[in-house]
Amino acid sequence: METDLVLESLKFMALGMGIVFLFLYTLVLLMQLQAFIVGKFFSNDKDSGGTTGSKSSNEIDEKRRIAAIIGAVMQHKK
């Protein structure tokens, strides 16, 4: 019996698109999961490149300095 090329290719399409979506959907879930985990447990890690408006290093340094000053004042009060 001769192979029905169109029928076969339709089956390939069903399988192929199914796998592609399944793969990417799982990838989406894993990306969300890792974003959650990294955000929760590794929140000190800063982005180097930054896709959108990341805080400038000056601003961060400023905050650190303020934190250090507050810490020193608290020590002094004891």
Binding site: T3, M13, L30, V38, D45
Partner: protein, 444 residues
């Protein structure tokens, strides 16, 4: 006693000399025999004979007076048309490719070496595509065994920033929808073959052609050399030509499928992505490939290696090498090797036209499917999604994303969609590699 030693010495000398003589005569005979096989003994010729023999070895003679029994680089006989008019047509096509690459800026990095390889491949008599010819050596070195596309993929991985995708993961689904172009055109190629009788593609060939819809050059070459090496030249030329034509092919499709209002949608700013997330991402991809689709491991493995080297931040020398020197060197070889398939006997076949038509169909369907998916997601998503970013789901990094951004800015000046479109764009690379893996798994 003296007599005995004298006799012994005489026998020894006789024996030794006879052995030496026979050995030397054998050596002479052997060398002469080999030489006779390799080089014909030269016979004195008149100046007329010399000129006639020279003229016979010229390209003009080979093209004007084709002869039966002339073979191509692979030892197959060439038709008279392929030897004469075919070569001239190929020269014209190649000059057109040069024009497109240089004057029009169509993917010049690949089209130029491909076209030049084609030019060399069509030189008569030189047989550069044969096993010992320059193009043949390059082809066997890294294309027949699918090595070069993988090195290119490594470089592309080292250049890719997954930040935009990680900041808005669900846009990956748009990159999946665009792969409909691949499978849609697979059906198209099968139908063309089954119902028209104009071309006769096998399922493997149809699969190799349809990968053009993934708009990913290295993946197309990888799959074509695995499933249908005889169509490699046409597939690579079609893939790179259409990738270069993204700014022409895509905007009308985007505009046809979306309303002005949809194109004006402004997307919210994406969140910040941590460095650690970018570092872990290539590992997640490789582990998923390892568990789900090992057939895509060569492609995704080298892609992830490049990306991991870049994001690790500790091997800048390697990462720089991958995205500069290595990818450049391989591009030269890849171009020339693919160009060897532009010889008239492998390019001027009815299938080439079919490949060009199906390739265009694949590209358009992929774009349309991405945009339609964008519309669906916009309807159901909490955050607004501009549907045209779906068009970037066909890989063609980063041109497709740039085109989307341009069309978006036309509808609403100042609306920058580039970063949002990069998400589906890089997901498209993964998507087409997965689609390629599925096709390989089917035919293996």
């Amino acid at each position: 006693m003296k007599m005995k030693s004298f006799l012994l010495t005489a026998i020894f000398i006789f024996f030794a000399s006879s052995v030496t003589l026979s050995a030397s005569s054998e050596t002479q005979g052997g060398v002469a025999g080999e030489e006779a096989q390799q080089v014909k003994p030269y016979e004195p010729k008149s100046i007329t004979q010399l000129s006639a023999a020279f003229l016979e070895r010229t390209g003009i003679n080979a093209i004007l007076f084709p002869q039966e029994g002339v073979t191509n680089g692979h030892g197959e006989e060439m038709t008279l048309f392929e030897q004469s008019t075919g070569r001239v047509i190929m020269f014209v096509i190649i000059f057109l490719l040069f024009y497109l690459a240089i004057a029009k800026g169509f993917e010049p990095l690949l089209l130029l070496p491909i076209a030049f390889g084609g030019l060399l491949a069509n030189i008569p008599i030189a047989n550069m595509t044969s096993e010992h010819g320059m193009l043949g050596i390059i082809y066997n070195m890294g294309i027949a065994n699918e090595f070069f596309p993988l090195l290119i993929f490594m470089g592309v991985g080292a250049m890719t920033d997954f930040g935009p995708l990680l900041s808005n993961p669900k846009t990956a689904l748009l990159g999946g929808a665009a792969q409909f172009g691949i499978f849609g055109s697979l059906v198209g190629a099968a139908a063309l073959s089954q119902y028209t009788g104009y071309v006769d593609f096998t399922l493997q060939q149809a699969g190799a052609i349809s990968i053009i819809g993934g708009a990913d050059g290295p993946t197309s070459i990888f799959i074509a050399s695995r499933l249908a090496p005889e169509l490699l030249g046409a597939i690579a030329v079609a893939a790179y030509s259409y990738m270069a034509l993204v700014p022409v092919i895509q905007p009308p499709i985007m505009k046809m499928l979306t309303s002005e209002e949809e194109r004006r949608i402004v997307m919210p700013k994406t969140r910040e992505v941590k460095k650690l997330e970018k570092l872990i991402f290539p590992l997640i991809v490789v582990m998923m490939i390892a568990f789900v689709l090992p057939d895509a491991a060569p492609l995704m493995g080298s892609f992830a290696l490049g990306n991991f080297a870049k994001e690790s931040g500790v091997v800048d020398r390697l990462s720089n090498e991958m995205q500069n020197s290595l990818i450049n060197i391989v591009t030269i070889f890849l171009g020339l090797g693919v160009g060897s398939k532009l010889a008239s006997d492998s390019f001027l076949v009815a299938e080439t036209l079919g490949i060009m038509v199906i390739g265009l169909l694949a590209f358009s369907v992929g774009t349309a499917a991405g945009v339609i998916m964008g519309k669906i997601m916009n309807r159901f998503s909490k955050e607004p999604i501009n549907p045209i970013i779906g068009a970037a789901g066909v890989s063609a990094v980063p041109m497709a994303a740039r085109v989307v951004s341009k069309v978006g800015a036309e509808a609403r000046p100042g609306n920058v969609l580039l970063m949002h479109a990069m998400g589906p764009n890089v997901a498209g690379v993964i998507g087409s590699a997965v689609a390629a893996g599925v096709l390989l798994s089917i035919f293996n």
